[in-house]
Symmetry: C2
């Protein structure tokens, strides 16, 4: 939502903290040039936009990645989902419970490991996933439309590089005990 011109179109001297200035645009300074902060802003914006799309349905945005991954990997374990979504396994517990309660997924005991639960979609789950995938596709299209194909590709590659680097080399401090 835009907020410019809401107060005044005259754009009074932004440096002056005068009464008409209301909320000055805030100078981002150094932060505004960092990868990390821009990453945060972009992610937030993307999530918000996606939420706006899914909000129309009664579907939570956080469900989508989960359903999609389950759909693509029937029988996955919760731990695997946790890793794939970069969320703590304990975060998934109530979430999956909710999905199960709504009949979107099935959690059957793994016959080969009685601790584990093999997760898969139900028919209803597949249907919901189709709806969410629709939103996701629109969202993706919207993002893609912002860039030239090669730019898009480049951006994804850069993001992957970043993720990869940070997740694999996470512990650089102490005497590294790499392989035992």
């Amino acid at each position: 939502m835009r907020k410019r011109t809401t107060t005044r179109a005259t754009a009074p001297p932004a440096d002056a903290a005068g009464p008409g200035a209301a909320q000055a645009p805030v100078q981002l300074g150094w932060l505004g040039e960092t990868i990390a902060y821009n990453l945060r802003l972009a992610q937030t914006a993307s999530f918000q936009a996606f939420s706006a799309l899914t909000g129309d349905l009664g579907l939570r945005p956080g469900w989508y990645a989960l359903l999609q991954l389950i759909g693509d990997n029937p029988g996955v374990s919760q731990t695997a989902l946790s890793l794939a979504t970069s969320r703590d396994k304990s975060t998934l517990t109530p979430l999956l419970g909710d999905l199960e309660r709504r009949g979107l997924i099935r959690r059957e005991p793994d016959p080969l490991d009685r601790r584990g639960r093999r997760i898969s979609l139900t028919e209803a789950g597949r249907a919901k996933l189709a709806l969410l995938a629709e939103c996701a596709a629109r969202h993706d299209a919207r993002l893609n439309a912002l860039f030239a194909p090669e730019q898009r590709q480049h951006l994804v590659a850069l993001l992957k590089t970043l993720t990869e680097a940070l997740t694999t080399e996470t512990p650089p401090p102490e005497s590294g005990p790499p392989e035992d």
Copy 2:
């Protein structure tokens, strides 16, 4: 993202879905190529890495951007901070209260608008900011080290484009609201 080497060199046949296979790597499929999902993963990874740096001090990572922005814009309003950080104003209420309680910021009434509060750093706040800025600088350096200077610049530009596009054109649905 690959997750090898994170746990151990156990390396049981990863393809076999046998009991020893534990969690299969999960196929990300379509998701893994989208901007949105990679954005999410990258942001999460970045945040985690930054948290690891700040965790050493008794300082919450969420404080940093706030303190930095306040430092750069003494006298800002909470609403302005809310916009600059892309966080809801109600999110900042307890956070700023906390910072004030710890003596890091000051919230003095705006003489020109008795609703508003002009926020600025205290000396202690400046000191804490310096510590956090140190972490931020290290984090930034780490991220920057992953890319060539022009790549970095490019990435930031792409992210800005994305954020900008999503935040300004948020409401495209209904018949465009004719400005009154």
